[in-house]
Amino acid sequence: MKKLIAAGVVAALLSGVAPASAATQIDFWHAFTGRLGELLDEQVAKFNASQTDYTVVATNKGNYSETLNAGIAAFRAGEQPDILQVFEVGTATMMAAKGAIKPVYEVMAESGLPFDQSVYLAAVAGYYTTTEGQMLSLPYNSSTPVLYVNKDALKAAGLDPEMDLSTWEQVGTALDALKAAGNKCPLTTAWQSWVHLENLSAYHNVPFATKENGFAGVDTELTFNGDVQVKHIDTLGQWAKDGKFIYSGRRNEGGAPFRAGECALFTESSAGYAGVKKEATFDFAIRPLPYWSSVEGAPQNTIIGGASLWVMQGQTPEEYKGVAAFFNFLSSSDIQAKWHQDTGYLPITMAAYEATKASGFYEANPGTDISIIQMTGKAPTANSKGLRLGSFDQIRGIIDEELEGVWNGSKTAKDALDSAVSRGNELLRRFEQANR
C-alpha cells in the first residue's frame, strides 16, 4: 500500500515538470485513453491555440479510480493539479473534502467571467450541485442508460422489429419469443448496479437511499431493497434462470457479444453508441430504457453516469482564472455539440442540444436524442436528482456481488438486496465517521 502511494507521489512529481513558458500552466488530470483521450486532447489543443495567457496540460492518470487516487496522493504531497476528472461515484468523496477542492461556482465568481448556471441541463448539472443549487464541479462526460435493440434478431424470432419495448412487461413478451426461437442471448446488460438499481429507482421515483439519496447529508442509509427494486431483480433472476437474461460481467463486457450480433437486447450507457455504430453489422435501434407500467408515476427521469471536473485547492489566483476560462470554453455550445455528437455523451448545455438538433444530426443518427429526452422529460425529484453516497465505488462492488448471487440462483432477490443494503450501510457509517 505504501509503495502504491509512493508511486503515485513520484508520478505526481514527474508530471509537474513541464517546459517553461510565459503562459500560466493549468494542469488537468484525466482518465481518458483511446479515442476519448484523442478527443479530449483535441479540445485542449483548441483552447491553447485560442488564447495566449494559459496553457492547459492534459495528462492521463489511468482509469477513473487510479486518477482519483493520483489526485489524492498528489494533494497529500502538495503537488495537486488544477483540474481533476472524477467519476460520478467519487462525487461524495470530493464534496466532503472541503479543504481540498474549490467549488466551481466560487472559481467562476472570482474570475469575473460570465457564468450562468441556468444554461446547463438541470438533469446533468443537478448531480453536481449542492441542495442550494450551487455548482461544485463542472459536468464533463455524462451518459444515461438506454436499450439497444438488434432488429435482425427480433425479426428472426418472428417479432415485429419495430415493436414497442418501452415497458419491462413488453420486454418480457419479446424475451419469451426470442427464447422460443432459440436465441442464446435474448437480453444482457452492462453496469448492472447503475442500470438496474440506481437508474431503476430514479426512473420509478423511489428512493435509493434516505436523505434525498445522500444529497442532504452523510447520515444517509440505503433503501434500494424496496418493493419496486425487489420485484425487478426477482424478475431478472427468473429470466436468468430461464436463459432469457444472460449475465456477462460487472462492467460493459456484454458489449462485445451484442456488437457481434449474439444478443438481441442490451441495456447500456448511451455513450456505447459510437462502438455499436462502428461494429454492428446488423440493423439496430436505440430505445428508451424500459420501465414497469405497473408502477405509478413511471417513467420519471433517468440519472447520469460519467465524470465531472473538480478544481483543487492551493493554486494561484492566476491559475484559477485560467481554469475559469477553460471551463467557459468547454461549456461553449459548439465544443459541447461536437463532443456530444462524437462520443454519444450528453451535451451539458441546452444550447448545445439545440445546435445539434438544428444541424440535423438526430435525423441522420436516429435514437441519439433518446438519452436527452429520457433525462429531461420530467423535472427531477428528490429520488431522481442523482446519488451522493460515500464509498460508493465499493458499495457498487457489494451490489455486484449480491446480484451475482441472484443470477446464479444461490440467493433470492429479497435476500440479496437486504444483504447489500446492510453491508453498504456499514460502509456509509465508516464514511460518515471519517467525514464528520
Partner: protein, 293 residues
C-alpha cells in the same frame, strides 16, 4: 578449526552494514511503523482531518463476516497455488533432468513464463477463459460444461489459482532442476544396481536430498501466493464473484484504494504483517527441522 575474520576497527563493521540497515529501515521499518500508527486512526482520504479510534479499526474488521471469510479464502488459495506450482515444477524438472538431447532448449522454454508480469498473465488466462469469447470456455461448452467464472466461485478460484501457479512454475522448475543436478549420481546408480525402481529411488533418495530446495521453495511460494498474486486477481476476478477470490492482500487494496478507507486498510496491513511473521516462524521452527541439508 574455525575460520574467522576479525575487524581491527570497532566501527568498520557497523559502517559496512549501514547501507543495508538504512535500506531496511527506509523501505521496511518506516512504512511498517506508519501502518501500525495509522491503524489507530480513521483519516479522510485527503488527510485533512483524522480521528483517533484506538483498536476501533480492528474491532470493525473482525466484526465483519467477509473479512473473517477472507482468511479462509487466502488459506485455500495459497495452499492450492503452492501445491500446484511446486508439484508441476518438480514433475517437469524430473523430466527435464532425464532428457539428454536438446535439454537446454526445453529448459529455456520452461523458464519463459517467469518473465511475464502477473497482470499480463491474468489477462492471458482471462482471454482463454472468457465465458463469451474464450477459446477454452468454448471448448468446454462443446463438451457440455458451462464455464462462467463471473458467477461460479469455484471456477473463479480455479482460474486464479491456475494463472498464479502457472507463472510460478518456471521459477520453481529452475530451482528444482538445479537441486536435482546437485544430487550425486553415484548414490542413485548404487540404488539402481540394487534393483530399486525409478519411483523408489525418487522417494527414498532424490526427494529427501532435495528437501532444502523444497523447503526454500515452500517459503517463497507461500509468500508469492500471499503478496504477489494481486495482479492476477485484479485482472481476472477483482475478488469476485461474491468475495470468493478476495484474498487478504486484495482486500487491503480494495478498501484502501477503491473505498478510500485508509484506516481499515492500514489495520489490515498490520494483520498481514503479524500473520506473515507467524508463518515464517512456524516454517523455520517446525518444518526446517525435518529438512536434511
Amino acid at each position: 578449526m574455525e575460520k574467522r575474520v576479525v575487524f581491527d576497527n570497532r566501527w568498520l563493521p557497523y559502517l559496512l552494514v549501514a547501507p543495508q540497515l538504512l535500506v531496511t529501515f527506509v523501505f521496511f521499518f518506516w512504512p511498517a511503523g506508519q501502518a501500525i500508527y495509522q491503524s489507530a486512526f480513521i483519516p479522510d482520504p485527503f488527510g485533512l482531518k483524522t480521528q483517533f479510534v484506538g483498536f476501533g479499526n480492528f474491532e470493525y474488521l473482525f466484526g465483519n463476516r467477509y473479512y473473517r471469510e477472507s482468511f479462509l479464502t487466502t488459506a485455500v488459495f495459497s495452499v492450492l497455488v503452492t501445491i500446484s506450482a511446486m508439484s508441476f515444477a518438480l514433475w517437469l524438472a524430473v523430466l527435464a533432468d532425464r532428457v539428454i538431447k536438446g535439454s537446454s532448449a526445453y529448459r529455456t522454454l520452461l523458464i519463459w513464463p517467469y518473465a511475464v508480469a502477473p497482470a499480463i498473465a491474468g489477462v492471458l488466462w482471462l482471454f482463454m477463459f472468457n465465458p463469451f469469447t474464450g477459446i477454452i470456455a468454448w471448448m468446454l461448452s462443446q463438451m457440455g460444461y458451462v464455464w462462467n467464472h463471473n458467477l461460479d466461485g469455484g471456477q473463479a478460484m480455479a482460474l486464479v489459482v491456475a494463472a498464479s501457479a502457472w507463472k510460478q512454475i518456471s521459477y520453481n522448475f529452475l530451482f528444482f532442476l538445479a537441486g536435482l543436478q546437485a544430487i550425486p549420481k553415484s548414490v542413485i546408480e548404487a540404488a539402481a544396481i540394487d534393483g530399486a525402481s525409478f519411483w523408489r529411488r525418487f522417494w527414498t533418495i532424490v526427494f529427501p536430498l532435495l528437501s532444502p530446495t523444497t523447503f526454500f521453495l515452500l517459503v517463497v511460494n507461500i509468500i508469492y501466493a500471499f503478496f504477489d498474486t494481486f495482479g492476477v486477481i485484479h485482472t481476472i476476478t477483482q475478488g469476485g464473484p461474491q468475495q470468493s477470490t478476495t484474498i487478504l492482500v486484495y482486500k487491503v487494496f480494495a478498501d484502501g484504494f477503491v473505498g478510500q478507507d485508509l484506516g481499515s486498510s492500514a489495520a489490515q496491513s498490520v494483520v498481514l504483517l503479524v500473520l506473515v511473521g507467524i508463518l515464517t516462524v512456524v516454517q523455520f521452527r517446525f518444518i526446517e527441522r525435518r529438512v536434511h541439508y
